[in-house]
């Protein structure tokens, strides 16, 4: 059976060249970057090199790059770090209803600690309205956090404009760019961002390495105190192998990104065009302002975990926003925020493509998916409407 991985938004395989670059740093160049001897200096050079690659890739300075243990940690550092450092200036934070949990949860936790939180709604395509950000900003607003692109529905937010508004109002602006870094070019000057989160495992780098860009004039406190690594913002002996892998992955993206994104856009467009031909299949997210590799649908009268598992039995790996597959047993907050009813959100499927996908993969998915949908609809009691009583009562013997 053919195996097709279409869950690149969840994570990506480590590129062979990235793995090769990382290897020496486990058992040969294993020094601690804080040590003065040659082992230490090898590690320090490797760390500096990766820092430079990351800084260069987003038009930042070396000392504005803070390596973290993940994208989630970068988000937490940005939000809690800025909130703590600026709590005497103000207590108001603005974010959106479709942020990743790594942003929403710290914000909600801060609210419990006495901060004020405004969660902005999005429209049906998942867009935040920049003028709503402007209206929400108060005298005591210290931080706005709006993601660059959404991980589920792929909608790309008007970050440049929101950044400009924050700058004019002298409010820090953080964006979670975990899904865009390596897919869309990022220039922190053009975007007017003060803080930006990324994660290596979404761009063919290793898991467990992230980075927070922190503009050098931002007031921020660390989450992890200790030996003052990473400019005092993230103590602990650096994960050199992981950071080298991150650097290598970013370096590779530079050359590969443009053609790859053109290819993925092409494949993705075919995928969407064909899938929405299935009866009662709907596209979630924006038709144009979306990540080049993202497709997200909902299928009426079936449930997403079943769909995902049936696809998996047929070799296709995808994901869903159904409650049934979540640890919280709640339907995706993103799909509910764009106006889907819970029963509709349960029927969602995300297909996210990556550089190892081919036209044959798309063809295979287009062959398998309609069959899975049809199979589950046969099992479902709902045929014509959600109120199945209509086609139901006739069955009772009278």
């Amino acid at each position: 059976m053919r195996k097709v991985y279409m869950d690149y938004a969840a994570t990506t395989p480590v590129d062979d060249r990235v793995l090769e670059a990382m290897k020496p740093f486990f058992s040969k160049k294993y020094g601690n970057a804080s040590s003065m001897h040659s082992y230490g200096q090898d590690a320090k050079n490797a760390l500096d090199n990766s820092r430079h690659i990351l800084a260069d890739s987003i038009n930042a300075k070396n000392n504005e790059i803070v390596f973290t243990g993940s994208g989630s940690e970068a988000d937490n550092l940005a939000i809690k770090g800025v909130a703590f450092a600026n709590r005497f200036k103000g207590k108001h934070i603005i974010t959106s209803s479709i942020e990743h949990h790594a942003v929403l949860e710290p914000c909600e936790w801060l609210e419990k600690q006495g901060f004020d939180l405004t969660i902005l709604p999005v429209d049906k395509s998942g867009l935040v309205d920049p003028s709503a950000v402007e209206t929400a900003i108060r005298k005591d607003t210290i931080l706005v956090s709006i993601m660059h692109a959404n991980n589920e529905i792929g909608t790309i937010e008007p970050i440049d404009e929101i950044g400009r508004i924050c700058k004019e109002n002298d409010v820090y602006f953080h964006t979670d760019a975990v899904q865009t870094f390596g897919k869309i070019s990022i220039d922190i000057e053009k975007m007017n961002v003060d803080l930006l989160s990324t994660s290596a495992h979404k761009l063919y780098g290793p898991k467990g390495v992230g980075c927070l860009y922190v503009r050098d004039d931002v007031k921020i406190e660390p989450l992890i105190h200790g030996g003052k690594h990473e400019f005092g913002l993230r103590s602990s002996t650096e994960n050199i192998a992981g950071i080298v892998g991150f650097g290598k992955a970013v370096e590779l993206r530079k050359g590969e990104m443009p053609t790859e994104m053109r290819n993925l856009t092409k494949l993705r467009t075919i995928l969407i065009k064909e899938v929405i031909k299935i009866e009662d299949a709907h596209l979630n997210g924006h038709s144009e302002l979306r990540l080049p590799n993202n497709a997200n649908f909902w299928f009426k009268f079936i449930e997403g975990e079943s769909l995902m598992m049936d696809l998996s039995l047929n070799g296709v790996s995808a994901s869903t926003g159904s409650a049934c597959s979540s640890k919280s047993l709640k339907a995706s907050h993103v799909l509910l925020a764009i106006g889907l009813k819970p029963e509709e959100a349960h029927g969602s499927l995300r297909l996210s493509l990556g550089k190892y996908n081919t036209a044959e993969d798309v063809e295979y998915v287009l062959n398998v998916l309609p069959k899975s949908v049809e199979k589950l609809r046969k099992i479902s009691p709902f045929k014509r409407d959600w109120n199945s009583e209509n086609n139901f009562e006739k069955n009772i013997r009278t």
């Binding site: 969840a10 998996s312 049934c324 009813k341 046969k378 139901f392």
Partner: protein, 140 residues
């Protein structure tokens, strides 16, 4: 978005792959409906009951339709297997745990939300009994 590995037993996956007794039933004697599309699981169980020579009421035929996750579909399929050919009194004694055990267990998180099949079966039997009472009323 959530990542899911296969948390299900082989038996669950077998029933999910090839559900037993799937479909609607015309002229069912009893129908059990449980769940709610909002929560993600809805089950329908249809039964046909006939009297044996000993005068026992036997579940002669049983069918199901389910909207829901893998566990919801597999438990529905399993409960129909467990109930088929049983007297309605025996069938009333089938519990959620019986269903889960027959499937070699369910992930803990699914034990509550998706293990509704026994409830649907009981609802179908109750529906059958109340229909029967009604029709007897009419005769009188």
């Amino acid at each position: 978005m959530r990542d899911v590995t296969c948390p299900y037993s082989k038996e669950v996956m077998n029933h999910f792959r090839n559900p037993h007794n799937l479909g609607e039933m015309n002229e069912a004697d009893g129908i059990g409906k449980v769940g709610n599309p909002l929560c993600g699981d809805v089950m329908r169980i249809y039964i046909k009951v006939s009297e044996s020579e000993k005068g026992e009421e036997i579940i002669k035929d049983i069918k199901f339709q389910t909207f829901g996750c893998v566990a919801a579909i597999a438990t529905s399929s399993m409960v129909t297997e467990l109930a088929k050919g049983k007297t309605i009194d025996e069938a009333m004694k089938i519990t959620r745990n019986n269903v889960a055990d027959s499937l070699d267990g369910l992930p803990p998180i699914k034990m509550h939300c998706s293990n509704l099949a026994a409830d649907a079966l009981h609802a179908a039997i109750k529906d059958y009994k109340s229909k029967k009472l009604q029709s007897e009323d009419v005769v009188i």
